[in-house]
């Protein structure tokens, strides 16, 4: 049994005009624990929808999604929130850091919604893991783009999730910062973290062990 098993996942949207769009049109995919998978595709190919479904930010219209053997596609809204909090870490292209808020407080954000009794030191540990132990009190505007994305990675890791989902994490970065971020993802994967990277950039996808290509909502 794989950690993640998607079976014939479909996602259909209805446009305001009444026209239906099959963003994901029957995807089956298995991801093993410890894998580093890249999902590539052009914009509009359905890769972001697929990532949202993997992270339980979105629900498939049809299909089965099991995570460690549990059917998670049918979880209630509260259970989905708990699942995202405890088992998934998200990294986004736009970082989504809170402005005028210290790096440490940004990293600790998921802990606000955690069931953990004690959260002491977790934020600090996560920031040190991405090499920003000396930037804890800096606000996002005082950090470079690469540093901001590392803060976002620390935030994704602070709750020790099973799965790290990165959606175009280097899209807003210069080449050097992009390399730094990919190096960190590679190191994380080598230390056992399961990573799914969504990107349109073949050079970034090359960092992954396996590349899955999606076109018009189906795997190519």
């Amino acid at each position: 049994m794989s950690m993640i098993e998607l079976h014939d996942i479909r996602k259909t949207y209805t446009r305001p005009t009444g026209e239906t769009v099959n963003a994901v049109a029957g995807v089956s995919l298995a991801i093993e624990r410890g894998e580093f998978v890249a999902i590539t595709g052009t914009s509009g190919s359905g890769k972001s929808t697929l990532m949202n479904i993997l992270g339980l930010l979105d629900r498939p219209t049809v299909g089965r999604y099991t995570f460690d053997g549990d059917n998670v596609a049918t979880l209630g809204v509260r259970e989905q929130a708990r699942f995202r909090n405890a088992r998934v870490g998200f990294v986004f292209q736009a970082f989504h850091l809170l402005p005028r808020t210290s790096a440490l407080e940004n990293v600790e954000l998921p802990l606000l919604y955690s069931d953990r009794k004690s959260v002491d030191g977790l934020g600090r540990k996560a920031l040190e893991a991405v090499g920003l132990g000396d930037r804890m009190q800096h606000t996002p505007s005082e950090l470079s783009g690469g540093q901001q994305q590392r803060v976002a990675i620390a935030r994704a890791l602070v709750n020790e999730p099973d799965l790290l989902l990165a959606d175009e994490p280097t899209g807003n970065l210069d080449a050097r910062s992009a390399d730094e971020v990919m190096t960190i993802l590679g190191d994380l994967n080598r230390s056992g973290r399961t990573i799914v990277l969504v990107t349109h950039d073949a050079a970034m996808a090359a960092h992954a062990q396996r590349v899955v290509r999606i076109e018009n909502g189906v795997l190519a």
Partner: protein, 402 residues
């Protein structure tokens, strides 16, 4: 309740300083106005009650010359109230325990040994001590023979004593009211200021007969206070007084009184009515200010929600439940309003005390007023947060992050 999340939401005030400042300004003004009104209202009510008590007591009736003067203007010569009128009333009605006539001269200049002062001169009978419940601190009250022979004796208040005689003993000294010389026989008990803020120690009391003949040269009195033996008889006695006076003034049925009768119960009713009106409308007006502040807060917070769509999406992505997002925005709104309100309560208390000092209302600080305003602010704050919180909670996380 999630303590970590609540503390985190409190800190958002610092992240959005301008927004927080505007919300605080609104609740500051609202809470200050409400505190001011509630605190001074309470103090004014206390002051009115004690003054009515001081002036009237439960068992008195005041007769004033001139009928419904306040509404229809002075009646000039038609308004005659004489000592004989009151003698007749007193003889006819055995329920009356005592009565005291009054004539007053508001701003008389008085002199003594080179010093001058301005004082209110009151003409009264020797029964004034009993009827008005104010005696002398030093010396002795003038007596019935003094009144009978229009003696030139005076009782002076502490303010007058200080102005005319400084630290010297005024007893036995001479003073001039206009050009009429008087001998000081007593110093009145301290009274302080009355409801109108008038210094009642800036007074000189002389026999009514002396006042009428030697000072004012009139044969009428301005008013009289009547004490009734049993407080429960005040209402009926007031009617009897009215009947006797109408007979003596030969007023035909249907013609209005050419005098006015005020009793403690009547004054109490009037005061109660005024108080009720004030107690209702002033706080209502102040509460509307707070309501407007809440609407402003809700609008600013809605704008904040619209500006922070991706933040809300992110929070949902990292595990915030719908109710966590709601709680955050309610706490942000309520905490900001409450902080402004706390400052407003302090400012309101200070303003109330300043106003009270000018109006001689005494101490106005009241925990009850502060707690009421705090509770009202907290409730409006939470209500103001509900709409933005619901808007925030309705956002779909995947859409919000796009």
């Amino acid at each position: 309740m999630n303590g970590r999340l609540v503390r985190h939401s409190f800190r958002s005030m610092r992240r959005y300083k301008l927004r927080s400042a505007f919300i605080m300004l609104g609740s500051f003004v609202g809470a200050a106005a409400l505190t001011l009104v509630v605190a001074t209202g309470q103090a004014a009510e206390r002051k009115v009650l004690t003054t009515v008590e001081q002036l009237f007591g439960a068992s008195s009736i005041v007769v004033m010359a001139g009928g419904t003067q306040l509404l229809s203007g002075a009646r000039g010569n038609a308004a005659r109230l004489t000592l004989d009128d009151l003698e007749a009333v007193s003889d006819a009605l055995p329920r009356i325990e005592a009565w005291d006539p009054q004539q007053a001269l508001p701003n008389a200049s008085v002199r003594a040994e080179g010093a001058t002062a301005t004082a209110r001169i009151l003409g009264a009978s020797e029964r004034s001590e009993q009827v008005w419940n104010r005696g002398v601190a030093r010396g002795a009250y003038f007596d019935a023979p003094d009144v009978a022979r229009s003696a030139r004796v005076a009782l002076i208040g502490e303010t007058v004593a200080h102005e005319l005689f400084a630290d010297a003993d005024p007893l036995g000294a001479e003073l001039l009211i206009g050009n009429v010389p008087f001998r000081v026989v007593g110093v009145l008990e301290r009274f302080g200021t009355d409801l109108h803020g008038m210094d009642r120690d800036d007074e000189i009391v002389i026999p009514i007969s002396t006042m009428m003949r030697r000072v004012l040269n009139v044969d009428t009195i301005a008013a009289a206070k009547i004490l009734v033996r049993d407080p429960s008889d005040v209402a009926t006695t007031a009617k009897d007084v009215e009947r006797v006076l109408r007979e003596r003034h030969a007023l035909a049925a249907g013609r209005p009184n050419d005098f006015a009768i005020i009793s403690a119960t009547g004054v109490q009713k009037m005061v109660d009515k005024t108080q009720r009106t004030l107690a209702l409308y002033l706080p209502l007006a102040a509460a509307i200010v707070l309501l407007v502040a809440a609407i402003v807060a809700a609008t600013l917070m809605l704008a904040s929600v619209n500006e922070r769509v991706s933040e809300i999406g992110l929070r949902r992505a990292v595990g915030a439940r719908v109710e966590d997002v709601q709680l955050q925005f309610v706490v942000e709104t309520a905490a900001t309003m409450l902080l402004g309100a706390l400052a407003g309560i302090v400012a309101g208390c200070i303003l109330a005390q300043l106003a009270a000092n000018r109006l001689h209302l005494g101490d106005v600080l009241s925990w009850r007023a502060a707690l009421v305003v705090l509770a009202v602010s907290a409730i409006t704050g939470v209500l103001a947060g509900v709409v933005p919180a619901r808007r925030a909670a309705r956002l779909d996380p995947a859409t919000a992050l796009r």
